[in-house]
C-alpha cells in the first residue's frame, strides 16, 4: 500500500513546479497551463485524502474544481484571444499598462 504522504508530497512537488512556472513564464497561455497544473496538484491531494479517509466528499470537490477549471479555461482563453487581437503578443510583461 502506498502511504498517503507519498501522494501528498507528489502533490507538493507538482504544486511548487506550477507556482514557480507562473513566475518564470512570460507566455500567458503557459501561465494558464501552470495554473491548471497547480489545480491538478490540489486535486490529487483531495482525491488522496478522500480515498484514504473513505469519504466521498473530496472527490465531489474535485468534480467541482474541474468544472471551475473548465469555466476558467473557457473565459481565460477567450481573453487571451482578445488580448492577442489587440496587442499581437502573448507576453504578459508587455501588457503592463494596468498601473499608476
Amino acid at each position: 500500500m502506498v502511504p498517503l504522504s507519498w501522494y501528498l508530497i507528489l502533490s507538493a512537488i507538482l504544486f511548487t513546479i506550477g507556482a514557480v512556472g507562473v513566475f518564470l513564464k512570460r507566455n500567458v497561455i503557459t501561465i494558464f497551463m501552470c495554473i491548471e497544473l497547480m489545480l491538478n496538484a490540489v486535486n490529487l491531494t483531495l482525491v488522496a485524502f478522500s480515498s484514504f479517509y473513505k469519504q466521498v466528499y473530496g472527490q465531489l470537490f474535485v468534480f467541482i474544481v474541474m468544472t471551475v477549471a473548465a469555466a476558467e479555461a473557457g473565459v481565460g482563453l477567450a481573453l487571451v484571444i482578445s488580448v492577442f487581437r489587440n496587442r499581437e503578443t502573448l507576453d504578459v510583461d508587455k501588457s503592463n499598462i494596468l498601473k499608476l
Partner: protein
C-alpha cells in the same frame, strides 16, 4: 391609546414640516391645532380609562404600552414604551390641554408671519417630544424627550433667526441645557450600574428602578454621600439636569433670554410645560430621592434661593415678558423647594396650577404685545385697561392667582408648599423654618412685582401716545417684519377671538384649578362636609406613586405634620402677606409707575457679567490660546498633516509594487500564501518541539 397621544403631534409636525410651505395659514393652523386637539382628546380618554383601572399591589393605577424593544445589549434593555400612571396622567392632561389652547392662541398671534408653517411644525414637534418625555417608561425614553424638547426650545427661541439676539439666546439656552443634560446622562449610567435597569416600571423580565430603590436603605445625611456613587449621587446628578431644564441656580440664566422667542413659545415651553420637566422628573424619581435626604436638602435650598433671587430681579424688570420669565424661575424654585421638603405632590400640584396661571399671564402679555404692535417695554404702556378689557380681566385673575389671593388656584398650591416646608420631616433641624420664611418673603415679593406689572401696564396715564415715536431702540426681541405698520399710531385694540378665548378658558382654570387640592386643614373649615371626599382628591390620587419618606432623626418639625391648628396659622400668615403685598404694590406703583429700582436688581445681580468674567471669558481665552493655537493647529492639524505626509510617503514606496507586471503580482500573492503556510507550519513545529 398612548400611541395616539404621542404620535398625533408628530404626524402634524411631519405634515407641516414637509408640506407646510405650500399650505395656507388657515390650513396650517387647522392641522397644527387638530393634531394637538386629537392628542388632548386622547389624553382625556386615556385618563378616564386610567381612573377605571384596578390599582396594583402598591395602590398605583397604571396603563403601559410597549411598542418594541428599542435597544437590547447584554443585560441592558430599553423599550420603546409608554406608561400612564397618575403622575404622567395629570401631566399629559395639562400639557395637551394648555398646549391646545396655546396653539389656538398662536394661530392668531403668529398670523401673517412668513415662517408660520415652520413655527407650527416646531410647536407640534415640541408637543411630541414633551409627551414622549412624560409618557416614556424608562430613563432613556425620557431622555429622548428631554433632549427633544431642548432641541425644539432651541429652534423656537431662535425662531426669528435674522435677529442676532434671538440666535444668541437660542445658543445660550442650548449650551446651558447641555450642562444639565450631562448630569442626566451620568445619572442614567450610574442608575444602570447600580440597578441593572433603567425602566421606570416592572414588566415582564424587568424589575423597575424604583421598585429596587424602594428596598434600599436610606443614605446618611452627610456631604460625603454626595460623591459616594450611591442614590444620593444619582439624585444630585438628576437634579443637575433639572437645574438646567428648569432654570434653577446656577443654570437659570438662559430662561430670561429665551423670551426672545415668540410669546406663545414662552407661554408653552418656558412657562407651562418644558421647564417643569425637571420637577416632573424629580417627582417621578421620588423613590430615589426618598433614600437620599442630603440630595433633598440641597434641592430645597437651591429651590428656595432661586425663588427669592429671581423674585427680587423680577421686581425691577421693565420688559413685560422678562418680569414673567423671572417670575417663572421664581415659581419653579418654589416647586423645587416643595420637592426638597419631601412634599412631591405639593410641588407637582403647583406645577399644574402654575401651568394654568402662568400660561394665562404669558398669553395675556402676548395679547398686550400684539395690540401694542410688538412693544414689550412696560414704560411705554399704561392705561391699557380701557382698550383691552378681556385681556385686563383675565390677566388680573392670573395675577391674583399667582400672588396667592385666597381661594384662587395659586393660593392653595402655594399654601400647601409653605406649610409642607415648615413641617417637613426630613429637612435638618431649623432649616425648614428658615426656608419657610424665605418662601413667605418670596410670596410677598411675587405679589408686589406682579401687581407692579399690572399697574404699570393697565393703569395710569397712556404713555404709549407720547413715547411711541422714540421707542424703536427698545423694541422687543419679538420683532416681526413690520406688517403691522398700518396700525401704528392708532389706539390699541383688543385681540381677536381666537386669542381671547384661550385667555378666558385659562382664567377659569386659574380660578377653579385649585379646588382639586385644597389643603386638609383649610378644607375642614371652608368646605361643606358633604364634599370632603373631593377636597383633597389631587393628593389622594397622586400619593400612591410616592415612596414613604422616613423622617430624619432628631427632626423637631416632624411633629408639626399632623397639627392642623399650626397649619391654619401658616395659611393665615400667607394670606395676610399676600393681601398686604398686593396692596403695597398697587398703591406704590399706581402713584409712581416709573419708579427707579435698585441698580443691583435692574442689572440682575450682574449674574451674566459674573458668568462672563469667570466662565465665558476664561473659556474663550483658553480656547483661543491653548485649544486653537496649540491643540488644534499644533497637535490635531499636525497629526492630520503628518498622517497625510506619511500616507504620501508610504504610497510612493508601495507604488513601486504596482508595476503592471502580472507576474510580479503573482509573486506577491505567492509570498502571502507562503507566509500563511509558514505560520501554520511554524505553529505545528512549535507545538511539536514543546
Amino acid at each position: 391609546m398612548l400611541k395616539v397621544i404621542v404620535f398625533a403631534p408628530l404626524l402634524g409636525a411631519a405634515i407641516l414640516g414637509l408640506f407646510g410651505n405650500k399650505m395656507s395659514e388657515r390650513l396650517i393652523g387647522l392641522i397644527a391645532c387638530s393634531s394637538v386637539g386629537v392628542s388632548a382628546i386622547a389624553a382625556f380618554v386615556a385618563f378616564s380609562k386610567l381612573l377605571g383601572v384596578q390599582p396594583d399591589s402598591g395602590g398605583v393605577r397604571r396603563i403601559s404600552e410597549t411598542l418594541f424593544t428599542w435597544i437590547s445589549v447584554g443585560t441592558f434593555r430599553a423599550d420603546f414604551g409608554f406608561v400612564l400612571d397618575p403622575l404622567s396622567g395629570v401631566m399629559i392632561l395639562f400639557v395637551t390641554g394648555v398646549g391646545f389652547l396655546i396653539h389656538m392662541f398662536a394661530t392668531g398671534y403668529m398670523s401673517h408671519d412668513p415662517g408660520f408653517w415652520r413655527f407650527f411644525a416646531y410647536m407640534n414637534l415640541f408637543m411630541f417630544m414633551m409627551l414622549t418625555l412624560v409618557l416614556g417608561d424608562n430613563f432613556l425614553m425620557m431622555f429622548v424627550g428631554w433632549e427633544g424638547v431642548g432641541l425644539c426650545s432651541y429652534l423656537l427661541i431662535g425662531y426669528f433667526f435674522t435677529l442676532p439676539s434671538a440666535g444668541d439666546a437660542a445658543k445660550k439656552a442650548f449650551v446651558v441645557n447641555r450642562i444639565g443634560d450631562f448630569g442626566i446622562a451620568l445619572a442614567m449610567m450610574l442608575i444602570f450600574y447600580k440597578f441593572g435597569t433603567i425602566s421606570f416600571i416592572d414588566k415582564e423580565g424587568l424589575v423597575g428602578v424604583f421598585t429596587k430603590a424602594a428596598t434600599m436603605p436610606v443614605e446618611a445625611l452627610t456631604f460625603s454621600s454626595l460623591w459616594a456613587g450611591g442614590l444620593t449621587t444619582i439624585a444630585i446628578l438628576l437634579f443637575i439636569g433639572a437645574t438646567g431644564k428648569s432654570a434653577q441656580i446656577p443654570l437659570f440664566v438662559w430662561l430670561p433670554d429665551a423670551m426672545a422667542g415668540p410669546t406663545p413659545v414662552s407661554a408653552l415651553i418656558h412657562a407651562a410645560t418644558m421647564v417643569t420637566a425637571g420637577v416632573y422628573m424629580i417627582v417621578r424619581s421620588n423613590a430615589i430621592y426618598a433614600k437620599a435626604p442630603m440630595a433633598l436638602t440641597i434641592v430645597a435650598i437651591v429651590g428656595a434661593l432661586t425663588a427669592i433671587f429671581a423674585a427680587t430681579i423680577g421686581l425691577s424688570q421693565w420688559d413685560i415678558k422678562k418680569v414673567l420669565a423671572y417670575s417663572t424661575v421664581s415659581q419653579l424654585g418654589y416647586m423645587f423647594l416643595a420637592c426638597g421638603a419631601g412634599a412631591f405632590t405639593a410641588g407637582f400640584f403647583h406645577v399644574v396650577t402654575h401651568a394654568f396661571f402662568k400660561a394665562l399671564l404669558f398669553l395675556g402679555s402676548g395679547s398686550v404685545i400684539h395690540s401694542m404692535h410688538h412693544e414689550q417695554n412696560m414704560a411705554h404702556m399704561g392705561g391699557l385697561k380701557k382698550y383691552l378689557k378681556i385681556t385686563f380681566a383675565t390677566m388680573g385673575v392670573g395675577t391674583l392667582a399667582i400672588s396667592g389671593f385666597p381661594l384662587l388656584s395659586g393660593f392653595f398650591s402655594k399654601d400647601e408648599i409653605l406649610w409642607k416646608v415648615k413641617s417637613s420631616p426630613i429637612l435638618p433641624s431649623n432649616l425648614g423654618l428658615i426656608l419657610w420664611l424665605i418662601g413667605l418673603v418670596t410670596a410677598a415679593i411675587t405679589a408686589i412685582y406682579m401687581t407692579r406689572m399690572m399697574v404699570i401696564t393697565f393703569f395710569g396715564e397712556e404713555r404709549f401716545r407720547n413715547n411711541h415715536g422714540s421707542h424703536d431702540g427698545h423694541h422687543g426681541d419679538d420683532h416681526h417684519d413690520d406688517h403691522h405698520s398700518h396700525g401704528h399710531g392708532g389706539d390699541p385694540h383688543e385681540s381677536p377671538l381666537v386669542m381671547t378665548v384661550p385667555l378666558m378658558v385659562l382664567a377659569v382654570l386659574s380660578v377653579v384649578g385649585g379646588f382639586v387640592g385644597i389643603p386638609e386643614a383649610l378644607a375642614e373649615k371652608i368646605v361643606p362636609h358633604s364634599l370632603h371626599d373631593y377636597t383633597h382628591s389631587f393628593y389622594k390620587f397622586l400619593d400612591p406613586i410616592l415612596t414613604p419618606i422616613a423622617a430624619s432623626p432628631g427632626n423637631v418639625t416632624g411633629a408639626l405634620a399632623q397639627d392642623h391648628h399650626a397649619e391654619l396659622m401658616s395659611t393665615v400668615y400667607s394670606t395676610i402677606v399676600a393681601l398686604l403685598a398686593i396692596a403695597i404694590g398697587f398703591f406704590l406703583f399706581r402713584d409712581k409707575p416709573l419708579m427707579t429700582m435698585p441698580r443691583l436688581l435692574e442689572q440682575k445681580y450682574y449674574i451674566d457679567e459674573i458668568y462672563d468674567a469667570f466662565i465665558v471669558n476664561p473659556l474663550k481665552s483658553i480656547s483661543t490660546t491653548v485649544l486653537w493655537k496649540v491643540v488644534d493647529v499644533g497637535i490635531i492639524d499636525g497629526i492630520v498633516n503628518g498622517l497625510a505626509k506619511f500616507v504620501g510617503f508610504t504610497s510612493r514606496l508601495t507604488r513601486e509594487f504596482q508595476s503592471g507586471f502580472t507576474r510580479s503580482y503573482a509573486v506577491f500573492i505567492f509570498v502571502g500564501a507562503v507566509t500563511v503556510l509558514g505560520y501554520f507550519v511554524g505553529y505545528l513545529v512549535f507545538n511539536a518541539l514543546r
